[in-house]
């Protein structure tokens, strides 16, 4: 399957792209997918991940997800 990876703010600067579509399997975790496409990028604890627009676990398989978003510390309002 294909999954769309979105980055924002600091994560976009560090990874060098805002959006990228990659092949992934439903059994892969967000951490594994990210490690595969950006081996040098190790997200610290302040960076959350969202799968299909809901906060998710870095180490839980993504399932039939269409989107994975990296969420650095937020600062809206």
């Amino acid at each position: 399957m294909q999954i769309n990876i979105l980055t924002f703010a600091l994560t976009r600067i560090e990874l060098g792209f805002s959006e990228r579509t990659v092949e992934a399997s439903a059994t892969e975790t967000p951490r594994a997918i990210l490690r595969r496409i950006a081996p040098d990028f190790a997200p610290d604890k302040s960076i959350r991940v969202a799968v299909n627009r809901e906060y998710a676990d870095w180490d839980k398989p993504v399932g039939e997800a269409y989107e994975l978003a990296l969420i650095p510390p937020v600062s809206g309002g």
């Binding site: 924002f8 703010a9 969202a50 627009r53 809901e54 978003a69 969420i71 937020v74 809206g76 309002g77």
Partner: protein
């Protein structure tokens, strides 16, 4: 309860209020305004970005959860994105409720939760 969440890339215009809600006893509005100094440095404004669909659903969920504690009749929330000059409004919230406590507490709690969880970022 009516919940209206919106993102705009231009100046925020507070929505017009429709008449006919005689049970509304309180209306509270909050405007988050860009300050001149950020970390002690003078700035021209702030740049905001968001994961808009996720921010929309996250804020809707926050407001719906808070409404269990603080019953309200209506919540409007407008967040401006892209460049917001100093002195202009980045966030507008209006809450209408039967009693003032619910509206006041809804506003404060919603802002705290949005600042913690809504995928919106600012930089200068």
């Amino acid at each position: 309860m009516k919940i209206h969440i919106e993102f705009t890339h231009s100046q925020i215009v507070p929505p017009r209020i429709l008449a006919g809600a005689n049970e509304i006893g309180a209306q509270v509005e909050f405007l988050g305004i860009v300050r001149e100094l950020e970390d002690g440095q003078a700035i021209a404004g702030l740049h905001y970005e968001a994961h808009e669909p996720m921010a929309q659903s996250t804020i809707e969920k926050i407001v719906a959860e808070l409404a269990v504690l603080y019953p309200c009749e209506a919540v409007w929330l407008i967040h401006r994105l892209d460049f917001v000059p100093v002195g202009e409004t980045a966030l507008f919230i209006r809450v209408r409720s039967r009693h003032r406590q619910s509206a006041l507490r809804m506003i404060e709690a919603a802002i705290d939760r949005i600042k913690a969880d809504a995928p919106i970022w600012k930089r200068f």
